[in-house]
């Protein structure tokens, strides 16, 4: 398939998945705020979700940037420097919770707001309409139209839970349609690869931002700590499944284990990376990499295979011993490498350019033909 189309599909899928994460995060933070009850604390709950432009905060959803192009403009990345500069603590003044919610949901100037993400996903989809099903396009278009409706912000404040549920389900429905209306061929593989790489990255990011809770004195203790970890599970859409596995004994190490290493739950990092790997192999097998002999010849497949193996054989105690933040940063960095290599191997081949020599020769042939004609006349 066309490299440009594959790139648009990959990013379209990532943006939609990212919108699901943002919707969950806003919703969960809202619940925390209501549980807390103290308006003084509200700002400290919302502040970490801020992007830098709103006063020195730190975008939780910066993540790894895009590769350029209309649909894949880079997002504001989370950098170590931003963290060292004090991150959330350097807020000049606490913004109102409503402003933060608006910024994350509707602010078109925030590239990581749900509205921006869905708009960019739709722009990407529009560029590849002939390659996705009409159902997918209509679903994404409807979701987009619902987010740019002038009344929607007021409705979201009125019924925030209902609103975030609709956005989340709208985006999930889109991925569901991709699964059941598209042939599971190369286009679908790129969509699936984008979705799961994004999800693995999102879950790792959410976990990474909560690692301070594991530090001595790093967070609330007792009942509040449980509430906080439940919120972490919810923001990854994993609270119910966790309860089934661990009878709702909320222990930090178990939460980390579940979100990071569970092999069968589709919101875990490990599951997501396995699914991404299947998709990537599906892509690579169509090409020369397999035919050429070793599967490992494709650098993207190799990078993802190594990362999978790292999670496959990990134990949570060792991860915590190594330092969760260190481990997660490593995972996030490796996901980034996989995305770069996918781009390099499939989306932006360097070898695919017309040689100037060829063009020059064509021009000479043209000139020759013209001369012949003139002689004939």
């Amino acid at each position: 398939m066309l490299a440009r189309v594959a790139e648009e599909l990959f990013w379209m899928s990532r943006y939609v998945e990212r919108a699901v994460s943002v919707a969950r995060l806003i919703d969960v933070t809202l619940h925390l705020e209501l549980d807390d009850g103290d308006p003084e604390d509200a700002a400290s709950l919302w502040a970490p979700l801020l992007r830098p432009a709103l006063g020195g905060g730190l975008s939780r959803f910066g993540g790894w940037g895009g590769q350029g192009g209309a649909a894949s403009a880079p997002l504001a990345p989370i950098t170590a420097a931003a963290l060292e500069d004090g991150g959330v603590l350097t807020l000049r003044s606490a913004p109102a919770a409503g402003d933060v919610r608006y910024d994350l949901a509707f602010n078109e100037e925030n590239p990581s707001s749900m509205a921006s993400l869905v708009r960019r996903a739709r722009a990407a989809a529009r560029g590849v309409r002939e390659c996705i099903s009409s159902e997918m396009w209509e679903q994404l278009n409807t979701l987009y139209l619902s987010l740019v409706n002038p009344r929607v912000a007021a409705e979201a404040e009125e019924d925030p839970h209902g609103f975030h549920k609709r956005v989340r389900e709208g985006a999930q429905f889109f991925h569901g349609l991709a699964d059941c209306t598209l042939a599971h061929d190369e286009a679908w593989h790129f969509i699936t690869l984008g979705k799961y790489l994004e999800r693995a990255g999102s879950v790792a990011r959410v976990l990474n931002l909560e690692t301070h809770l594991l530090m001595p004195g790093g967070g609330p203790r007792g009942a509040d700590e449980i509430v906080r970890w439940l919120a972490v599970l919810r923001s990854c859409g994993s609270a119910e499944a966790y309860a089934r596995y661990y009878s709702l004994r909320v222990e930090p190490a178990r939460v980390v284990e579940f979100l990071l290493l569970n092999p069968v739950f589709p919101q875990s990092v490990r599951f997501s990376l396995n699914a991404a790997w299947e998709a990537l192999v599906g892509i690579a097998e169509r090409g020369t990499f397999i035919r050429g002999g070793a599967r490992g010849a494709d650098p993207a497949v190799r990078a993802l295979g190594l990362l999978r193996a790292r999670l496959e054989h990990a134990a949570v105690d060792e991860v915590l011993e190594e330092g969760l933040d260190h481990y997660l940063s490593d995972v996030q960095g490796r996901i980034e490498v996989v995305a770069e290599r996918v781009t390099h191997s499939y989306l932006r081949h360097e070898a695919q350019t017309g040689r100037v020599v060829g063009i020059a020769r064509a021009a000479m042939i043209m000139a020759g033909q013209q001369q012949q004609q003139q002689q004939q006349q």
Binding site: E138, F190, Q352, G354, R355, G358, A362, A363, I365
Partner: protein
């Protein structure tokens, strides 16, 4: 709809109600006030069963369907452009089998003659020596590409896809208003209008036998394959689009998807050693036929406009060498130049020795001194059009124009007589359209689509465009025009020649 009307209960939306008056125009549906034409009678009966609220509801359902499916066109091109839906009128426009047969024959004749003309002016130029058409007019036309003289195209077909605009005058006779021989658009609406009408008003289809339009994409693909370079066994066909900001982008995606071909942008293609390739996830893939929805000027920055980002460097060289086919061919613009349009009846005579089946609208060509004098003296009666513009831009409608506007065109005509033509203001036919809460007559035209590969094929249907503003004669979507589903009725027992068995 006001609440007062709602309280009155359902009112019949019967178009035959005395309020509807053809006002002396040719009305597609009514022969006289209250007198429905025979082929419209079942439609009128169905309409009479609907209340005004029901008509309005279906109308809204249709518009919502266009909106959610993203069947839109861009009004201002560029990232800030607004996506709009083309307003859709619920009541279909009906064409009888015999009317259609006439149109079909007329268009086939015209397209064959125009292709012989294009072949001639890019080869021996016989017609220019015949004195029928001034050589300057042809060779000086903006659309004439002298550098393609002597270049052969597959099957000697230049215009593979044509969308001609037909109008009807007050006597009901069809005329060709213009030929669109470059990259005509609108065919997606032919198919989508039908789909939407089936969805929102299925009952009406039980009353008629309507010829299907769904076959267009398959026919188009057949034509594109037929003109592949000799030797391409399983030709790879692509559709080249300028991208998502183009006003017809929806149509490009629609056609690529329906044909199952890749929709490419200039940056997806490259030329290596005279061969065109597309960049895929697994390396280069050869491209044989390009259905390009990009104008000549933007095809190749090496050959035409060097500032074009839409094109492919080296594409024109590959085309000249016969390694890749373009549909439509380069240089067809000369034949839909509005000044050359005036000579199409002569062109038909010259190449086919036949009388034109579909007449031209009488046209004054100001390069002829007598015509220029007449035009200047009768500006308040005439429509003046720029020869190279389309989409309803660059025109003066004399009877509706201000004194200042007319004075401006007078000056333009004197400065550049080659740049304009003039035609009498036609009393375009009208059709009942739903306006707020009742039916009113609105002027319409008809754009059928003609495909030409090994044979000429006219898709049975077309885009009926509606000038939505009361009294307006401008039907272009960029100027606030809307659309109607257009039905070609299958021939009954009384017109056996139209049955497919006979063909």
């Amino acid at each position: 709809m006001t609440s007062v009307q709602a309280q009155d209960g359902p009112r019949p939306a019967d178009v035959a109600a005395p309020v509807y008056d053809p006002d002396g125009f040719w009305d597609e549906m009514f022969a006289a006030p209250g007198a429905v034409r025979a082929h419209y009678a079942p439609l009128a009966r169905q309409l009479a069963t609907l209340s005004a609220d029901e008509v309005a509801r279906r109308q809204r359902a249709a518009e919502l369907s266009f909106q959610s499916r993203g069947i839109t066109f861009a009004v201002n091109q560029g990232p800030d452009g607004v996506e709009k839906i083309m307003p859709f009128d619920l009541v279909p426009r009906l064409l009888r089998a015999d009317e259609w047969q006439h149109i079909e024959r007329g268009l086939e004749q015209r397209i064959r003659a125009l292709n012989l003309f294009l072949y001639d002016i890019y080869h021996g130029q016989r017609i220019l020596g015949s004195g029928l058409i001034p050589p300057d007019l042809v060779l000086g036309a903006r659309g004439y590409r002298r550098e393609f003289r002597g270049v052969d195209v597959p099957l000697n077909v230049y215009t593979h896809i044509v969308g001609s605009d037909l109008v009807r005058d007050a006597s009901g006779r069809f005329f060709v208003l213009e030929d669109n021989l470059r990259t005509p658009s609108g065919v997606s609406y032919v198919v989508e209008n039908r789909r939407v009408l089936k969805r929102v008003w299925p009952q009406i289809f039980r009353e008629y036998e309507v010829r299907p339009v769904e076959g267009y994409p398959q026919d188009l693909l057949d034509v594109l394959r037929a003109v592949a370079p000799p030797g391409a066994e399983e030709p790879t066909v692509v559709l080249l689009t300028p991208g998502i900001y183009n006003s017809a982008y929806f149509e490009h995606a629609f056609l690529a998807k329906a044909m199952g071909v890749e929709m490419v942008q200039g940056s997806d293609l490259f030329v290596d050693d005279g061969q065109v390739y597309m960049r895929t996830t697994h390396g280069r893939q050869r491209v044989d036929v390009i259905y390009r929805r990009v104008d000549d000027d933007f095809l190749d920055p090496l050959a035409f406009r060097p500032d074009s980002f839409l094109g492919v460097p080296g594409l024109v060289a590959a085309y000249r060498m016969g390694r890749a086919s373009l549909a439509n061919a380069i240089g067809t613009g000369v034949a839909d130049d509005k000044a050359i349009y005036a000579y199409v009846p002569e062109i038909i005579h010259y190449y086919l020795g036949e009388e034109p089946i579909l007449p031209n609208v009488p046209t004054y060509v100001p390069t002829r001194p007598d015509d220029l004098r007449y035009v200047l003296e009768h500006l308040e009666e005439l429509v003046v059009k720029s020869v190279n513009e389309s989409g309803g831009y660059g025109m003066l409608i004399g009877p509706h124009a201000s004194q200042a506007h007319r004075a401006e065109y007078r000056a333009r005509l004197l400065a550049d007589p080659r740049g304009y033509i003039a035609q009498p203001t036609l009393a375009l036919s009208r059709h009942p359209c739903w306006v707020e809460d009742h039916f009113e007559g609105r002027h319409v035209d008809l754009r059928p689509f003609v495909l030409f590969g090994r044979e000429v094929r006219v898709t049975p249907g077309g885009l009926t465009r509606v000038a939505l503003r009361r009294g307006s004669l401008v039907v272009n979507s960029s100027q606030g025009g809307g659309g109607k589903d257009t039905w070609v009725l299958a021939g009954g027992a009384d017109s056996p020649t139209d049955s497919p068995m006979e063909k």
